[in-house]
């Protein structure tokens, strides 16, 4: 018991160290980029897991917020020639606005309406990214996005971009963890558990839902800005319903009531995309099959998790932690 306790406290530090020194160990630029993408996805999913894993709300449009952030950052840096940091902040602000506009009306309604509203919003945004040529560059998108720059320091190398992304992931994790372990997190879990009970306890149910949604939208938008800076161009084909479903899959598999689970799921599922590059020596046929069946795997994983392990990876870990004596509560 004591050893598992110390492991629980030590694990985050160990993992943080591993994440930090990774670029010193891994020298392959492509591989580093893959891990950087994993970080961008992880960032989105940390925000999404607050919304889904804690407050129990489904969003099928989070790729749209990533897109909004990416395009906002691109526009500010390329068209307006703003410094990167301002573009980053603008991405967050525009996403916050979008999130507010969507959340306030939708969250007055009963649960499932948010899922549908976000679906509609996501599709609408995907269409807009393609059609609003003067602002978004249309189907071709934005190219020539400058590298992220912190003041006079431009971040060009794969390692520096990796550290930027994972550094921001770390900050986001900290903020998310603070929020979830204090009053707002309890309020989120309360309204997830019983909206009636939450109302009867004086919780501002709509207010908590809206704040959580906007928070997750902002985080997604900032991830989008990072994506734009890391990749150098954005095109509408990235921010689709398929991407939103993938993010949901990561949140579902990662599990409810935990931030580590979804983060792990995000990293694993991103790595799955580049499986053949990561493990040399895999026969061509296997890696091809993996690519082809990637979405099938996601879909199957979602279904299996919802049916058999509704609390996801995070839930399984917690049950182990308690000695496995708990009943499985459906």
């Amino acid at each position: 018991m004591t050893s598992s306790r110390t492991w629980r406290y030590a694990a985050p530090f160990v993992i943080a160290v591993i994440v930090a020194i990774l670029p010193l160990v891994v020298t392959d630029r492509f591989l580093l980029k893959v891990f950087t993408f994993a970080g961008v996805n992880a960032l989105v999913v940390v925000g999404l897991s607050l919304l889904f894993g804690y407050a129990g709300q489904v969003s099928l449009g989070h790729a749209a917020f990533v897109g909004i952030g990416a395009y906002a950052a691109a526009y500010c840096t390329v068209q307006l020639h703003w410094p990167w940091i301002l573009g980053f902040v603008a991405a967050g602000a525009v996403s916050a606005l979008g999130g507010l506009v969507l959340a306030v009306p939708s969250l007055r309604l009963k649960g499932y309406y948010l899922a549908v509203a976000t679906l509609g919003f996501g599709e609408l945004m995907a269409l807009s990214f393609k059609e609003a040529e003067p602002v978004t560059g249309g189907v071709d998108g934005f190219t020539g996005i400058p590298y992220p720059a912190l003041g006079p320091f431009e971040l060009r190398t794969a390692s520096s971009l990796y550290w930027l992304v994972w550094g921001i992931v770390g900050v986001a994790l900290l903020i998310a963890w603070n929020t979830s372990s204090l009053r707002p997190g309890r309020a989120m879990r309360a309204l997830h558990g019983s909206e009636l009970g939450a109302q009867a306890s004086g919780v501002d149910v709509v207010g908590v839902k809206v704040r959580t949604f906007v928070m997750s939208a902002v985080i997604a938008g900032l991830a989008g800005a990072l994506y734009a800076g890391v990749v150098g161009f954005v095109s509408p084909s990235v921010f689709t319903l398929s991407a939103s479903v993938t993010f949901m899959a990561m949140a579902v598999i990662g599990g409810t009531g935990s931030l580590a689970g979804p983060l792990l799921a995000a990293v694993l599922l991103t790595l799955l995309q580049y499986f053949d590059a990561l493990i040399p020596g895999i026969p061509r046929s296997t890696s091809q099959a993996l690519q082809e069946y990637r979405e099938d795997i996601y879909a199957l994983a979602i279904i299996l998790v919802v049916i058999f392990a509704p609390r996801g990876l995070g839930g399984l870990w917690r049950r182990r932690d308690r000695g496995g004596g708990e009943e499985v509560r459906q």
């Binding site: 009963k110 509203a117 919003f121 609408l124 479903v245 919802v306």
Partner: protein
């Protein structure tokens, strides 16, 4: 004038398709209080399976019927495998499972039937009808006829048969229905089968005009849902009205403003309805609000 008529005809044609898909959503929603995100894929399966059966040599009418039956069976199977195991019937979990299911159905269709678009012959050959300067294709008439028949059959099923009464009881109060002997699990499975059948009917009937491909499901799903919400979620009459209205709106926007915005209409309508009048046009007291 004939231009307006042409738009109206197109609008009613698509409207019928949306009405059928929206009815599918409504049937499942009524039985489970959950949104079935796989509804669009049932529409896709109707078309794809119909073409597959036809290309295998079945005469067209048989292929169409077989496609609808097969899709209904897939719908029931999906419910048994993915929805029923969710013991608490939590709508949130059902929604997520149907999201996964939708992706899976789409992927399986891609793997088994390939990524290409597939055509289908019209149900009856012949030139279009000319009415008041507008042209009505024969397949459009088929769509109207099939929709009317489907809605009528559904109405009879729900109002005149014992089975229909059981379905309605399940929709109103599950626990009460269970107490009077209704096999609620069976009703839920049946609702998925019916919804799948309705989606497939829409899919197979419109394929001669639009061709079909494995990826049409998502877009149709959103539009069908927008139609259902527009009319009032949970209300079958609302679903039909919402579908027709959405079809007309789309046609008018595409005709008088710009075809590029056609697909956006459903999204905008959906968001507007949710924000302004979530219970839809025919919905009642606004009990959707918290």
């Amino acid at each position: 004038m004939s231009e307006l008529l042409q738009f109206l005809i197109a609008g009613l044609k698509n409207g019928c398709i949306y009405a059928l898909v929206a009815l599918g959503f409504t049937v499942v929603f009524a039985a489970t209080r959950a949104i079935n995100f796989a509804q669009g894929e049932f529409f896709m399966l109707g078309g794809m399976l119909g073409v597959a059966f036809w290309q295998l040599g079945l005469p067209l009418p048989l292929a169409a019927v077989a496609a609808v039956a097969a899709t209904a069976a897939i719908g029931a199977l999906f419910e048994l495998l993915a929805v029923r195991p969710i013991k608490d019937g939590d709508p949130l979990r059902i929604i997520i499972v149907t999201i996964g299911g939708a992706v899976l159905l789409r992927q399986l269709t891609l793997h088994f039937l390939g990524p290409d678009e597939r055509p289908l012959d019209a149900f009856s050959a012949g030139a279009s009808f000319k009415v008041w300067g507008a042209a009505i294709e024969r397949q459009t008439v088929w769509i109207w006829a099939v929709t009317v028949v489907s809605v009528a059959v559904l109405a009879i099923l729900y109002r005149r048969t014992a089975f229909g009464k059981a379905m309605r009881a399940t929709a109103i109060r599950r626990d009460a229905a269970r107490l009077v002997g209704v096999n609620v699990s069976l009703m839920v499975t049946a609702s998925f089968a019916i919804a799948a059948g309705l989606g497939a009917v829409a899919g197979i009937t419109v394929t001669p005009l639009t061709q079909t491909v494995f990826s049409v499901g998502a877009g149709m799903g959103v539009k069908g849902f927008a139609a259902a919400v527009l009319g009032g979620l949970g209300d079958p009459v609302g679903a039909v009205c919402g579908g027709l209205l959405l079809g007309l709106l789309e046609a008018l926007v595409a005709g008088y403003i710009d075809p590029v915005y056609k697909d956006a209409v459903a999204m905008v309508v959906l968001l507007l309805v949710l924000f302004v009048r979530p219970q839809g046009i025919l919905g009642g007291s606004g009990r959707e609000k918290l």
